[in-house]
Symmetry: C2
Subunit: 158 residues, 2 copies
DNA sequence: GCTGAAATAATAAGCCG
DNA sequence: CGGCTTATTATTTCAGC
């Protein structure tokens, strides 16, 4: 396997392959990973331990389909707080359990947030919590041309 | 444990607890999950099997920190294709490995996409692929007031 | 990083309410 | 049908090299 260590943030080709396989199925056994990269199982386990230690692997998690839970309506909210209310709005967003993720961004919109709800009425309830302190723009998700996929794609081969 | 089955999409309180624990750490052993919900390990395994079967659990995956890979720049792109080019733009987005997710949405922006890149130059390269066929608006992520969290939050207690 | 042994965990079979 | 216990198989972890 080609030597690439100390490029791509200190990860070699085996590390990248392990990451890609774990992204596809986090329950892949170390034995199977070992076979895929041509190392022994304990070596793979040690590499995974280090990937966690240096923060590359943040967590092992399950992807849950909101629609299967009855949350059939998802929406992106762009949120522009009125002057002086940014921290208040951030607090409100954090306290809304329907918000599954929220980033602070540059540009005229300060926040972009994802909400999963069961109905338009619930979406209205979410927006009404925010709207006293911010201008909002809501875009309902119709489909997902790119389902959440690996950030590894951003790595340029060097 | 209170009986809630056939509410919340057929999930009872034990199922929800299992899901919440797996979201926090997908490697939690069935024995530990069993202890948490007051069932035996095989019963928990059977519930998990059914949660996968009916699509609630879509996948087991690892969360990877793009910054730890050297992808220190992330941005939300709002993309409005010029008339007639929507399918072309969707194809281009799918083929850009730097795009980690993309939703089609209602409103004047047709797509909202997340990019992870190593530099402003790489971001420019991504935008330049799209811009012949669409108007774009780029918002750099500064921080994340709400790190990706459970869609279970959207469930109303009934 | 490897091998081989010990400890853990997942899975399967058979049984009960 | 959903759950429990026991037995078997697979996987992870730990020593020593």
């Amino acid at each position: 396997m080609k030597r690439l260590r100390n490029e791509n943030a200190g990860l070699d080709a085996a590390d990248l392959k392990i990451l890609r396989l774990l992204e596809k199925d986090a329950r892949t056994s170390t034995a199977e990973l070992a076979r895929a990269v041509g190392l022994s199982a304990p070596s793979v386990a040690e590499r995974i331990r280090k990937l966690q230690e240096n923060g590359v692997i943040e967590a092992y998690t399950v992807r849950i389909d909101p629609a299967a839970l009855g949350l059939k309506l998802s929406a992106w909210l762009r949120i522009r707080p009125v002057p002086g209310q940014l921290a208040v709005v951030a607090g409100i967003i954090r306290d809304l359990p329907e918000i599954a993720q929220c980033d602070r961004v540059t540009g005229e919109d300060c926040f972009i947030a994802l909400a999963h709800v069961g109905s338009v009425a619930e979406l209205e309830r979410v927006i009404d919590k925010i709207i006293p302190y911010a201008m909002t723009n809501t875009a309902i998700i119709q489909s997902s041309p790119v389902e959440p996929r690996s950030p590894l794609g951003g790595l340029r081969e060097r």
